[in-house]
């Protein structure tokens, strides 16, 4: 059992290069997200995969998808202000809808009608988040109703995890050459890492998302595992300063 998620993460990391911030980080992130959606739609039992990046307040910032239909369904949720991805973001949990046709008509009336009319029967939305740090949501669409199997759910969660890592690294200017193994931990269940995130937020006076990115950037620059850096922060041996990159 213990290996299964590690395997999922390894599978997803193998499928995707790291973001290579070569100049225009925003453009590089968009390119990377497009590749991620294409890789995910192939790896998962899905007919479409879309990703929406949102601001703290849930306003859509960037949307990418494996195809134009998925893209329009993703952005439609923000036009309408309703849909599984909007709920996943605001409720901090996956919103899994194996049969859109069976959804109560009051839940997302306009979105459900539009999705069904587009031939989508099931949608599974996973928040891109680490604790209270929220970046957006990943949507998996299927043309047939039915549950996403446990292994497919695990793989979708791994795609969400790797997307979070890629976004943080783009923000923290972590080089594409960074060894992913050395940075494991942002979603790895090491509570010291989460505590260090909260501490770094206070030390730098920045948002939680920025603190996550800065910690990863520091670990990469110092060529040290994130967990070791986090331990130093929590045990008082290290305090990031506003001018350290």
């Amino acid at each position: 059992m213990g290996e299964s998620h590690q395997d999922d993460l390894a599978v997803v990391r193998d499928l995707l290069p790291r973001v290579a911030p070569a100049g225009d980080v925003a453009a590089d992130v968009r390119t990377w997200l497009g590749r991620m959606c294409s890789a995910a739609v192939t790896a998962l039992p899905a007919t479409g995969v879309g990703v929406s990046l949102m601001t703290d307040t849930g306003v859509l910032a960037v949307a990418k998808a494996s195809d134009t239909l998925t893209d329009s369904l993703g952005t439609l949720q923000f036009t309408l202000g309703e849909g599984p991805c909007v709920d996943a973001f605001h409720e901090h949990r996956p919103v899994l809808v194996p049969d859109l046709g069976a959804v109560a008509s009051t839940r997302w009336p306009a979105y459900t009608a539009a999705a069904l009319a587009s031939g989508v029967q099931a949608v599974f939305s996973f928040p891109l988040q680490v604790g209270a740090a929220r970046l957006g949501a990943l949507d998996v669409y299927r043309a047939e109703a039915g549950e996403l199997s446990a292994p497919a759910t695990g793989l979708a969660l791994a795609f969400a995890d790797v997307t979070v890592e890629a976004l943080l690294d783009a923000q923290g200017a972590v080089s594409a050459a960074a060894e992913p193994g050395g940075l494991d931990g942002v979603v790895d269940g090491h509570y010291v890492v989460y505590q260090a995130q909260g501490m770094t937020m206070v030390d730098l006076g920045v948002s939680l998302v920025d603190a996550l990115a800065r910690l990863r950037g520091h670990a990469y620059a110092a060529d040290r595992p994130l967990l070791d850096v986090a331990r130093d922060v929590v045990e008082g041996r290290l305090r990031l300063e506003p001018d350290t990159a």
Partner: protein, 241 residues
């Protein structure tokens, strides 16, 4: 170990029923389950782990810090009674740590070095699905009596019911949604502990107590307050300066 007084058991179940209202605090609830399990069967340390949806366990609650470290140790080394109970879906009862090295070569010596002599783990089960495990660490070689095991399993079942917040989970997706939410709530609390610890110059355990006290004082859910601590600290001038 003494079998539980029925009156005390009744009190605990009344407390549980009082807690399981709409929109209750899942972290406080699990914390209560570990603390009450510890008291009821006179086992000094109790911890609770949950499946993270990727087939791996994550720490959720423990009656004390040493237990928390032992739970994390099991996750890190992918070995120990909690993992056995989770993987096999069957209880581990009265395992003697002095004779458990062949079974858990890294965990058994570590737990023994922490002063524990016996260990027990009960799966959190929803019919055929196992969603986590409840772990008990004893400092004497004395065994849990069959009556005690039933009580602990009942508490594990109560934890499962509370977590899933529904009498019948008809679909796997509800399970995934609830578990992921609970797991993320724990992460939010760790982030808030870090922020509070740094702001007040205190340790993370003291920061957790500060968060709990403040949540109770203001009648807020632990996770809701923790979320505000790390996303809108300026709205909490008393707590976050």
């Amino acid at each position: 170990m003494a079998t539980v007084a029925p009156a005390r058991l009744a009190e605990v179940f009344v407390e549980v029923a009082d807690t399981l209202v709409d929109d209750f605090d899942v972290i406080e609830f699990l914390q209560m389950i570990t603390t009450r399990t510890s008291e009821l069967v006179a086992v000094p340390a109790v911890g609770l782990l949950l499946d993270d949806g990727r087939g791996r366990l994550q720490f959720m609650a423990a009656s004390d810090e040493e237990t928390r470290l032992l739970e994390l140790f099991q996750i890190q080394h992918n070995e120990g009674p909690c993992l056995d109970a989770f993987t096999l879906g069957t209880p581990v009862v009265n395992a003697d740590l002095a004779h458990a090295e062949s079974r858990w070569p890294t965990f058994a010596p570590r737990a023994a070095a922490s002063g524990f002599r016996s260990v027990h783990a009960l799966p959190l089960r929803l019919r055929s699905t196992v969603i986590g495990a409840l772990n008990l660490f004893g400092t004497d070689a004395g065994s849990l009596e069959p009556g005690d095991v039933k009580i602990v399993q009942a508490l594990a079942d109560v934890a499962t019911i509370g977590l899933l917040q529904e009498k019948t989970i008809r679909h796997g997706e509800v399970l995934t949604e609830q578990l992921q939410h609970a797991l993320n709530s724990r992460v939010v609390i760790e982030q808030a502990k870090g922020a509070l610890a740094r702001t007040h110059g205190i340790g993370v355990d003291a920061a957790f107590e500060l968060l709990r006290t403040s949540a109770r004082t203001h009648n807020r859910k632990l996770v809701d307050l923790a979320r505000v601590v790390v996303t809108e600290p300026h709205t909490l001038p008393g707590l976050m300066r």
